[in-house]
Symmetry: C2
Subunit: 417 residues, 2 copies
């Protein structure tokens, strides 16, 4: 792996150091001509992601700019082997010079994606085309792991993955199954793994591997994975919703990943849907998590006498329903309704209008998604311009790692205006 300049996709601005010494910014500061260059380069690349292989002329038409502009932006990217020209496309019957579609080079620098869970770490390389390779995993010691164990496990895993990279990765993106401070790039807390509390993983990775590193929590990573590599491709506004043992969500609003202060927001699991309802693990009452998690589903399954209730999930529930179990059908409907309640609230609050479902629901397939969609539509007062649509995310393992890589991509493509 030869050594390259750290950030060449969006070249050589000195990045705002964490301890930014500049005085409080005026809004965000003003634009300069060179920023226009960076921003437009990012937008062209983003358009390529959204459209798939596209010629310069087509890009120029869609953007409403001059062809020469696109050529000027694209040429350096071709030189850097970020992009390549595909084979000429037959012109229409009107004739004309064949267009050469541009697409991401397989030889472009990859991104390292990392998934940090309570019990293990997974790493891989992701190309700009969205293919995964060099997948590695490392489990943490089960008995009272020390932070040193965790650090060395992460280091080993990452080292193995990076060894497969032919070019230096653009950065490392980490999806964390817990709370994250995106500013400090640190893990705040991970349920069931107190060893990870207050763990400055971002700094560690940057120091150890000399690469930019970004952390975010799991649902937000799923969202950006969907945005660049999945069903959210090309969407300007949508939400990702994760269900399972816990609930979470993330928002992509007006072409930007939304993060609240230091990465808050999207903590949907602990919104109230049943004031003074059942006790939640957070100590409050009536959180959405009390009625829409797998834990709730298991309790209900047991109550109505479904076989092996501890192993119930959307997949089995759909199978039982299709096999004719009326009890399962009723439970599925109630579960779908309960999930839909939280989504309906999100729809009323920010109206993303498009939802990508992740987690347990994926196992239930289209059937489950349709059940939820139906309830959401019934629970949201109708409104003009408000068709609500749903999609199912990638399978769990791929989604999270693509998402982790997507965090880096978001940072590279979204020039901060």
């Amino acid at each position: 792996m030869e050594r390259e300049h750290p950030a060449q996709l969006w070249p050589t601005e000195e990045e705002d150091a964490p301890g930014d010494s500049k005085p409080a910014r005026l809004g965000r500061s003003l634009l300069s001509s060179s920023m226009v260059g960076s921003a437009n380069r990012g937008r062209v690349l983003q358009a390529l992601f959204d459209l798939g292989p596209t010629s310069r002329a087509e890009l120029a038409r869609l953007a409403g700019v001059n062809r020469t502009t696109i050529s000027g932006i694209v040429q350096p990217l071709l030189d850097q082997q970020v992009l390549v020209e595909g084979r000429p496309i037959r012109p229409s019957e009107a004739g004309g010079k064949p267009a050469r579609p541009l697409w991401f080079s397989p030889d472009a620098r990859p991104i390292c994606g990392m998934l940090l869970m309570p019990d293990a770490v997974h790493t891989c390389l992701v190309t700009l085309e969205g293919s995964i390779s060099a997948l590695e995993s490392e489990r943490f010691p089960e008995e009272r792991p020390q932070i040193a164990d965790v650090r060395s496990a992460i280091e080993r895993c990452t080292t193995r993955t990076l060894a497969s990279a032919r070019r230096e990765p653009l950065g490392i993106g980490v999806a964390v199954g817990g709370m994250v401070d995106t500013d400090r790039r640190a893990v705040i807390a991970v349920n069931l793994a107190p060893v990870l509390n207050d763990f400055e993983l971002g700094d560690m990775l940057t120091k150890r591997f000399g690469l930019p590193a970004l952390l975010d929590h799991h649902p937000r990573a799923l969202l950006v994975g969907d945005r660049w590599f999945g069903k959210g491709r090309g969407q300007q506004t949508f939400a990702a919703v994760y269900t399972g043992e816990v609930l979470g969500g993330a928002l992509y609003l007006g072409g930007h990943l939304y993060r609240g202060q230091s990465g808050a927001g999207g903590e949907l699991g602990h919104t109230f849907v049943q004031v003074d309802g059942d006790l939640c693990s957070c100590g409050r009452r009536g959180c959405w998590e009390t009625i829409a998690t797998l834990g709730w589903l298991r309790r209900q399954a047991r109550a109505i006498g479904i076989d092996d209730p501890d192993a119930i999930d959307s997949g089995r529930l759909v199978a039982l329903t299709k096999a004719g179990s009326s009890g399962a059908a009723a439970l599925l409907d109630l579960y779908a309704r309960n999930v839909a309640v939280g989504i309906a609230n999100l729809q009323q609050t920010v109206a993303p209008n498009f939802y990508i479902l992740h987690g347990d629901v994926v196992g239930g397939g289209e059937f489950m998604a349709e059940a939820i969609a139906g309830h959401v539509r019934a629970l949201v007062p109708s409104r003009s311009g408000g068709e609500i649509s749903f999609a199912i995310g990638e399978t769990e393992d791929r989604a999270a790692l693509l998402g982790a890589a997507g965090l880096v991509l978001s940072e590279l493509l979204q020039f901060p205006l």
Copy 2:
């Protein structure tokens, strides 16, 4: 009122006509040099709003740009009398040439603010400094009003207000007490005033008065009023929450007013906080409106035997509590808690961290706001970087009209990047 070029604050771009003929945009299209000019002009003006009167050198320092850049931006604005130079400020003891603070000229073109309620219309002029003048009102006929009556009432009212304008206003902003389609600039529906349903007010105003006209619903107008003229001045992310006979909210996220598809979003009143709870006016059960409106408060007041329960509101509730009524104190606490539930959900979902309270709560003053704030803080799981703060908005009449004017201002200052 002499005739001027329609949009001179942000001068002479041909605006995107409503029936924009350009093909589907690439994300949003690329930046050009001239857009940099417009965007930077907008940002400088925004900074002036946020900072108050400020010299060129100071602006340049805060923005981290060259002084000449600011001079270049500001000079045309001085020529157009958008800005004026204030009197020189004494230099510090270090000496130096006295700075000349820039501020909005009282002779700058004003904005026409309009508030459309079920029973009446109110109009006024708002200067860029935020002062209100030429206030006019017109009531609609009480018995079965026809749309023609409403149109002529609005025209008369607007004409009287505009007659007082020394320069042609920059535009007309309308706050509507009901549902709005911001794209079509039309009223969709107003509770209790079916005559207003599907009323294309924006087009009518533009045709009749030759001015740009913008509509938005009431809570969103309150938010932008706060942003430019009120407690939200200079904030990058915050929320406005309206309580009273109905509930509503609006979001300012990352320096931009947030609108969902065709102006949805912020319809907090019909988020679920009590699944299968009391029947709501919308036909669903357990909406936030069933536990946090004045209607709920009146029912509770009657139930516990408070004097004149039909006239209860935050103001009286606080007064009774301070006078020592334990029943009122308990009711106040419950009311504050119920309001806090919806805010806590909003905090968990988008984490704006700063809330400006409008509507009934304003009458209860700091006491009421503190009660709500306390409950919100208790209802939100604690989290790093998450101090939640509250402010009380302007009194109802001023807030809505300033907000309506703020809609126009947002459009002028936020150059769409």
